[in-house]
Symmetry: C4
Subunit: 490 residues, 4 copies
C-alpha cells in the first residue's frame, strides 16, 4: 500500500490519528513559507539586502500572512578558516552572520542559509560535503533556523537512492545533533526519487531543476516532460511553472506533515508571467502543499502581485492542518496551442480539513474557454467511479480569488502610507497568522480564509466556469446547509 495520504482519502469514518513515527523534527507541520533571494538577486547578496527584505515583508503584511523564513542563498561565503570553519564574506556581511541572524530574529523572522552536499556550492564556494558536522555546528552557532542544501559538485555521489540518501542524511544527522531546531530543506532537484525516501531525513525536498519566470515555455535545459517527468535523468534548470506542476502530479501523496514536496521558490512579481499566470502558479503551489518561498525583489513588487502573494484564501489551502495535497484528476491536450506548441487543460481537487474540498479548473490553453468539473470527478479520491457519498451531496461553492485585495489597498501597503492604509482598513484584507494560526482561523471559519460563496454544486452535478487563457478558477466546497460547522463534528 502507499503512504498515509492515501489513507487520508478514505472516508472520514476511517480516519484517525496515527503514530507519526518518521518526522525528523517538529518543524514544517505545514509547508514552510518565506523568502529566498536567489530568483531575483543571485549572488548579489549582503546584509542590507536581507534586512531590507525583512522590513518590506513586514510592512506589506506578508510576515503576518505566514512568510516567516528569510533564506540567504549561495555566495555568502569566504571559504574556510585554517581550522576548517566556514567564514562569511566580510565585505558583504561585515558584522558576521550571527549579527544578521539576530537582526532577522528581532524583526520577527527566522533565518535560513545555504550550502551544498558537494565539495563546492553551485557558485563554487566551499561546500559542506565531508564537513557536515562542523558546518552544522557553525550554522547552529550563528542562530540559523533553516538550511537549503544544494547538490552541485557532488563528486559522482548520485545515481541511486541509497547513495543520495546517505549523502543527505549526513547533514540531517549533523543538524539534529546541534540541538537547535533547523528546518532541513533538501535541494537535490528530484534526483534519485527523494519523494520515495526523504520523509525521514528532511522537511522538504526539491522535485525538479530550477524554476524560471515562464508559465510554460519549454527549454532544452529542462528536458524532462511526459514519461520522463517522474524519472528524470537530467534535472536541469529553466523549468517552467507548468513543467514543475506536471512533475509533482505523479507523487502528490508523498508530501506529508513535516516533510513536503518543494516546487522551488515562487516567481510571482518577477515580471515574466501575466497576472492570470501568476495566479495559477501561486494557487497550484499552495494547493499541492509546496514550500512557499517568495523569490521576488520586494522593492519592485506591484500591487497586483502583492494581492496574489497575500491572498489568505489561497494560503489557507497550503497551511491547511490536514496536510493533504490536491491531486490532478484529469489532464487533456487541447488544440489551441501557443507559440511554444503548448496547450492543455486540467482539473484538480483535494480534501481539506473540516470536510471541505478544493477544486481548480486550470486552463493552459491559448485562449479563454468554458470548463467543467463534475461531482464524480471532484470527489474521485473519496470513491472511484462515482461511488463516493460526497458526490451525492450538495455543496456551497466559494471562489477563492473573489476577495482578492483591491489594488488601491495593496498599493497603500506598498507605499507605506499609513493614513491611507488606515482609511482603507487594510488589515481587514489580510489574515494575521502571527495572531491566529491558519488552523485556528479555519476552525473558527474566518471568512478571509474561505473565499466568497458563488453558487451551489448539486448532487451528481457540475461546476462550470469561464477560465481565462493560462488562468485558473479555484474553489472551496463546503457542505451546503451546514454553514460554519465542521463536518467532522456531524
Amino acid at each position: 500500500m502507499m503512504y498515509l495520504p492515501w489513507l487520508a482519502t478514505a472516508s472520514a469514518a476511517l480516519f484517525f490519528p496515527v503514530h507519526a513515527l518518521y518526522p525528523l523534527n517538529e518543524l514544517a507541520k505545514t509547508p514552510q513559507m518565506g523568502w529566498n533571494n536567489w530568483n531575483s538577486f543571485g549572488c548579489d547578496v549582503d546584509e542590507e539586502l536581507l534586512i531590507s527584505a525583512t522590513e518590506k515583508i513586514s510592512q506589506y503584511g506578508l510576515r503576518d500572512a505566514g512568510y516567516q523564513y528569510i533564506v540567504l542563498d549561495d555566495c555568502w561565503s569566504n571559504g574556510r578558516s585554517s581550522n576548517g570553519t566556514l567564514q562569511a564574506n566580510t565585505t558583504r556581511f561585515p558584522n558576521g552572520m550571527a549579527e544578521v541572524a539576530d537582526r532577522i530574529h528581532k524583526e520577527g523572522f527566522k533565518f535560513g542559509m545555504y550550502s551544498s552536499a558537494g565539495t563546492s556550492t553551485c557558485a563554487r564556494y566551499a561546500g559542506s560535503l565531508n564537513y557536515e558536522h562542523q558546518d552544522a555546528q557553525t550554522f547552529a552557532g550563528w542562530g540559523v533556523d533553516y538550511l537549503k542544501y544544494d547538490n552541485c559538485y557532488n563528486e559522482g555521489q548520485s545515481g541511486s537512492p541509497l547513495i543520495t540518501y546517505e549523502r543527505y542524511k549526513k547533514m540531517s544527522d549533523a543538524l539534529n545533533s546541534t540541538g537547535r531546531p533547523i528546518l532541513y530543506s533538501m535541494c537535490n532537484w528530484g534526483e534519485d526519487y527523494p519523494w520515495k525516501w526523504a520523509q525521514t531525513v528532511a522537511n522538504s525536498w526539491r522535485i525538479s531543476g530550477d524554476i524560471y519566470d515562464s508559465f510554460n515555455r519549454p527549454d532544452a535545459r529542462c528536458p524532462c516532460s511526459g514519461n520522463e517527468e517522474y524519472n528524470c535523468a537530467l534535472a536541469g534548470f529553466h523549468c517552467s511553472a507548468m513543467n514543475i506542476l506536471n512533475k509533482v502530479s505523479h507523487y502528490t501523496d508523498k508530501g506529508v506533515p513535516h516533510a513536503w514536496n518543494d516546487l522551488d521558490a515562487l516567481e510571482v512579481g518577477n515580471g515574466g508571467m501575466t497576472d492570470d499566470e501568476y495566479k495559477t502558479h501561486f494557487t497550484m503551489w499552495a494547493a499541492v502543499k509546496s514550500a512557499l518561498l517568495m523569490g521576488n525583489d520586494l522593492d519592485r513588487l506591484s500591487a497586483r502581485d502583492l494581492s496574489i502573494l497575500n491572498n489568505p484564501a489561497i494560503i489557507a489551502l497550503n497551511q491547511d492542518p490536514r496536510g493533504t495535497s490536491a491531486v490532478r484528476v484529469w489532464r487533456h491536450d487541447v488544440d489551441d496551442v501557443d507559440r511554444y506548441g503548448q496547450g492543455e487543460i486540467q482539473m484538480w481537487s483535494g480534501q481539506l480539513s473540516g470536510g471541505d474540498y478544493f477544486v481548480a479548473l486550470l486552463n493552459a490553453g491559448n485562449g479563454s474557454r468554458e470548463m467543467n468539473a463534475m461531482a464524480d470527478d471532484i470527489f474521485y479520491d473519496a470513491g472511484a467511479e462515482g461511488t463516493s457519498e460526497e458526490s451525492t451531496m450538495e455543496w456551497t461553492i466559494h471562489d477563492l480569488w473573489a476577495n482578492r485585495m483591491p489594488e488601491d489597498v495593496a498599493q497603500a501597503l506598498i507605499d507605506g502610507n499609513s493614513t491611507q492604509a488606515a482609511s482603507l482598513n487594510v488589515t481587514s484584507y489580510y489574515f494575521n497568522a502571527t495572531e491566529t494560526s491558519y488552523e485556528d482561523g479555519l476552525a473558527s471559519n474566518n471568512t478571509l480564509l474561505l473565499g466568497r460563496p458563488v453558487g451551489t454544486l448539486r448532487a451528481k452535478g457540475m461546476i462550470t466556469a469561464e477560465v481565462p487563457r493560462h488562468g485558473i478558477m479555484a474553489y472551496r466546497l463546503r457542505l451546503a446547509g451546514r454553514g460554519l460547522r465542521k463536518r467532522d463534528e456531524l
Copy 2:
C-alpha cells in the same frame, strides 16, 4: 532460456517433472486465496472486524471455495515494548493477537498479518526493517500463517535488484527460521523487477502500485503504462484493473508453483465497476495465477458480486495444478474509446492441466462488439505460427460464466436463510474445496469446474462471440470426443 513455464508450453511429450529446487517452502502450491481488509477498511481495523469476516466468508461458502487466509493489514500496532517486541493496539485487539489467531483458526481459516520492510509502515507504525528476526518470532509466536510485507520508509534501500533482494530476503530467512510455515507475500510494488529474483525468496510478490476500484481510468499517481509498464520508476497507487493486467502481460511466465505474481487484492464488491467489469477483473486475476485476496466489505456484498467471487469454473483456472499462467496473445487499440480516452481489445489463452486450454476475449472498448479467436492464435504457445498439433484438432468449448450462481441462490446465502438455501439446493452451486481439492475436482471432471459446453472449435477454426463493453467471454477448451478423459492419459 527462460523460466520453467516456457518449458511447460512445449508439447506434452516434452514435459516431465523437474526438480523443484527453488521453493522457499511448501506453501502456495497454487496461488493463495483469502481476504484482506485494506481496500474496504483501511486503518479501521479491530478484532471484531476480522472475526466477523470469517463468519461471513464461511456463511457465504467462500471459505470452502478456497478463500482461506484472513489478512489483517496496516494499523494494528501500538509500537514496540521496551525490549523491542511489537505490541498490538490493545484498544482494537484487547485480547491480543494470539487470541485473534486462535479464533480465526477455529473458524477454519489461516491468519495473515502485515509489516513493512522499512522503519515505518505506510501508515507510520513501527516497521520491521532491522527487526526482522525479532518480529518473525513474534508473528510465529502469535500463530500467524501469512505475512504481507510492505515497502514504505525503506531508507533509500531500493533502486537495484540486489539491494531490494537483500532487504526482503532478511525477512524471508527470519520467517523460515521460526520453524512455522508462514506464507511470505512481498509487497514492494514491482520495484526492481521482483519477478526476476523473488522466486527463491517469497511465495508471491506484488507487481504494481495499489489497485483502485476502477476498470481502466488512468490516474497521474499510477503513471506507468506503455513501455513504462515493465520498467516502472514510480509504482504509485490508484492503478486500474486494466493497468495492472497489462503490466503482468509481459512476465506471466515468472509466476510458478509456490511463487506467484500478485496483482493486488480484488475490488469486486466495492461498487466502482459494472458487473461486466468485475467479471473481467476476476476472470483475469484468476487466469494469470494472481494471488486472489478479496478486498470487499462483506457486510455489503451483493448477490451479483458473490456470484462472481464464488464461480468455481473461474477459481479452477487459478487453482489449476499445472500452474501455468494465461498469456496475452494479442492486443489492439480500438477507436471507440471511453471518456478517459481508453479503448482496446485483447485475446488471452493458456494451458491447463489435463490438456485443456483457457481462452478469453476481452473487450475494453467502449461498446459491445463481436470478437474472434483463431485456433492458430489460441494454441500459439504450443507452436508458433500455426505449427501446433492442437490447432488441427477439434475442441469442445465450455463457457466459464454460463453456470454462474443464480441471483436468488446467492441472495439466500447472503441472507443466511437456511430454509431457502436448502430449497434452492445452494450447495450444488459452489465447489467445496475443503472437501475436495481443485486438483482432485478437475481430475474427476467435476462439472462445476468445467463450465457449460456451448459449441465446438474445429481444426484451424475460430471462436466468435459478442462481448459486452468492458466485458469478457471466457472458455475452457477440451479435446472433442474425449469427454471426461484426461488428455495426459491418451
Copy 3:
C-alpha cells in the same frame, strides 16, 4: 573512439594487424557453429538424442559445413553428490557424461554443455552460482568443449554491468583454470549490456531473450522494441527473428574475433516460418556474425531447410576471416503491414575479406516489392555521404542464394541414399570445411563460397531487385575486372 571494427571500416590502407590483447582463449576465431537441442526438444534429452544428432549432422554434410559443437541444454542433471559434484541423470545418461563426450568426439564433433549463473538452472536443476570452480573441473573432467551459461535464479545479482560481469567472470576464470580449452558462451539475455564488457570474459554473449519460431510476430513477453531495443529492462522470451535482428543492429561492431554477439539458436527447420523467412533469418544471423547453432529436430529436417542450413555462400559470410559484421544502413517503415501490424524494409552491407562486400535487401513488408541499394549507401562505412573510393568503382554482383542446393540433392542426403547421392554428385554442392577452412576456401576463390555472378554495379550506381514478402536478396560484391585476385594484393 569505439571498438576495433570501427577501425576495420577505414580504408584498407589504414588497416594492419593489431595486438589482440583481450581474447579469453584461442577459440571462436570465427563464430562457433553447431547444434543445440533446446528449441526442438526442451527438457526431453538423453544420450541417444545427442548421438543420433551427431549421426544425422554428419550424414547431411553439416558437420563438414562447419557445425561442430553438439550442445546439450538444460535438464541433464541429477543434482549434486554429497561432496557437491554435479551428477548427470543416470536414466537419461546411463553411461555418464564422459562417455557421451567420448562418443561425440569420435564422431568428429565437440561437446557442449549447459549450466546457469544462478542457484538453479531455468528448469530448476542445480545451478553453478558459488560452485564455479568445482563445476568447471567437473566439465573439464568429462571432456566438455563448450559451456552455455544461463541466467536464471541469479539471486538479484543483476542490474548493473559490474555485478553481472563479476558473476560471469567467475565461471570464465574457472574454465580457464582447468587448462582445457572450453568455449564460453554467456547467456544472460543481453542484460546489463554484455556487448560493452564481455569481450574479455567470454567467446559469445546472448543479446536478447529466447527466440521463437516466428519471423516477426510481437509477443508481450518479449516487450523491448524501438528505443527499448538497446536498453531492455525485460529480456523475456518469444522474441521473433526480426526483433532480435533489430536489437543487434545497434551494436554490430561489438562482436570481434573470439568474442561474438549471439542472436540465439536458429529456428530453421522448425516449421513456423516460410522458406523465404528462414532464408532471411539464416542470412542475417550469418551476416552479423552471430554464433550459428541449429535448433531443429534433425529427424524432421526437410530438403528445403537443409539447403538453407548448408548454403556455403552464406556460411562463408559468417566464417569470413575478417570478422566484420554487416551493418544496417537503412530501415524504413512501409504501409503494407501484416496482421501483426508489422511492415518494414532494410538494407544491410558489410566488408568482407579480400576487399569484397556484402549487400542485402530485406523486405519485411507484407508483399513482394522492388528494392534498391545505392552504391553510396552500400559503401557507407568506407566513407560517409558518398566519399568512399569504393562507390566510384565497378563491382560484379554475386547472388548468394543462386547456387542453393537442388531439392533432389538435399533429399538424397536426407534419405541417406548413397547411390543416388553419388549420381547427383552431392559433394559438389557443399563446402567441406573439415578439409579446407573457409579462410582458405575464400583465399582460393572456391566458387561454392562466392555465389553466382548476376550483374554489375557501376560507379555511383544502384542494385535493383524484386524481393519477395519477408524475403531477402543477398549479394557478394567483387571488384569488376579483378576476377579471382584478392584486392589486398593489388
Copy 4:
C-alpha cells in the same frame, strides 16, 4: 540551483568573480584547440605523420589561430616492458616518444597522447586501467602535455556516476601527481553523465559516441536521439554533427572555464559534408564551447575548408573569456525533410564578454528558407518572456562569416607560395593568437574577431535572414551607438 553559468545569465549587475574552487588545474581556461589524427588516419600513425602535421598547421596559420595541441590517438603502443612501462612502437616511432614530444614542442605546439581507462585501448593495445600512476609518470617523462583517455574494455566498470568517476579520477590524480601540467581529456562517450561530475576531475569530457563525417544522417549504431539524447544507454559511434549538437543542447551550462563539454573532433575537411554543412558544424562547435580539435588530413585540405577552420570571428566565440555556451532557444521540426527523414530548424543565442551577444539561425531543413530571430528570444537568458532590458535596446548586427578568407588567399597559404601570400596580404586575414590572445583581441575590438556589421536589431525587433539548406547565419550583436566600448565599462 544550478551551475555557475546560470548565474552568469543574470544581468551584469549581479555578476561578480567567484571563488573558482573546483578547477583541476590551470589549463583550458578556454576550450582546448588542436589536431587529432583519428578521424583521418585511424591506426595509421607514425612520427612523420605528427611532424608533418605540425608543419602544415604552422604553414596554414592554424597554429597561430590557436590550434595548439597535436594529439596522437590510439595504436602508438608496443605493449609494456617487463617492468610494466608502456613502450612505443619502435617501427613507427623509432626515436621514441620523448623525441616526438621534443620536435612538436620545438614547432611551437603541445603534445597530446592517448590511453584508455580499460585493460586495453579500443584498438586493443595496452590500456591504463590499474596502471594509472605508472603510465602518468611515463607520459610526463616523455613531455606529454595532454591525455585523451578512452573507455574501451573497462571490465564492466560503468553504469553509475560513482564507478565511472572513480575510474577516471584515478588517472586525474595520477596526472596531477606528476607535477607536469597535463590537460586531461576524458573520453567516456557521455556515459554516466560526466557533465554532472567531471568538472572537478577533468578539463573536458566527451558527451557522445564518435562523430562521423555526416551532417545529420542517422545510424543504427548511434541510436540515442529524442528523449534518449540526454540519457543514452548506448553511446555507439557514427554520430552525426546534428545528433551531437542536439545532445549538448540539454547541458550547455555544464561546461565552465577549465572544464568543457567535448563534442568530438571536427570533420571539416574530410569531404562528407557540403560547405554550408561544415560552416554549421564548425560554428556550433565553437559556440557551445566544445574542445576544437581538427580531425582532417592536412595534406588534402581545400582552400574552402581552411577558410572555415581559420575564421577568427568564429574562433573568438569559442575562446571568449566569459566562457558561456550558447543555448538552443528553440527547435522546430519542418516538413521539408531529406532522404534520411530529417528536417528541423533551430535558433541559438548566447552571452559573450563585453556585453555582446551571439545569435545563430540554423536551417537543418532540406531547402533554403527565411528564418527569424526575435529580440525576446535572443535575450531569453537575460530575462524570460521578454523581461530583459536587453530586448528593449538597439544592437548592431555583425555577420560572423562575412569576412571569411577569400579562396585565393587560402589557396596561397595551402600552396606555401610566399610571394603570392605576401601580395595577397594573407596575414591580415587571420588572427594571430600567439601574439595576442583572443581575450586581448576582443578587449581591443580587433575587427577580425567581430565580423562585419550588416544591420541593426531594434528594440523588441527581429533579425531576418535567408538561410541555405543545412546552413547557418551567425551573428555577433553589439549595443548600438556604443561602438568599440565594452559594455561592462558603461
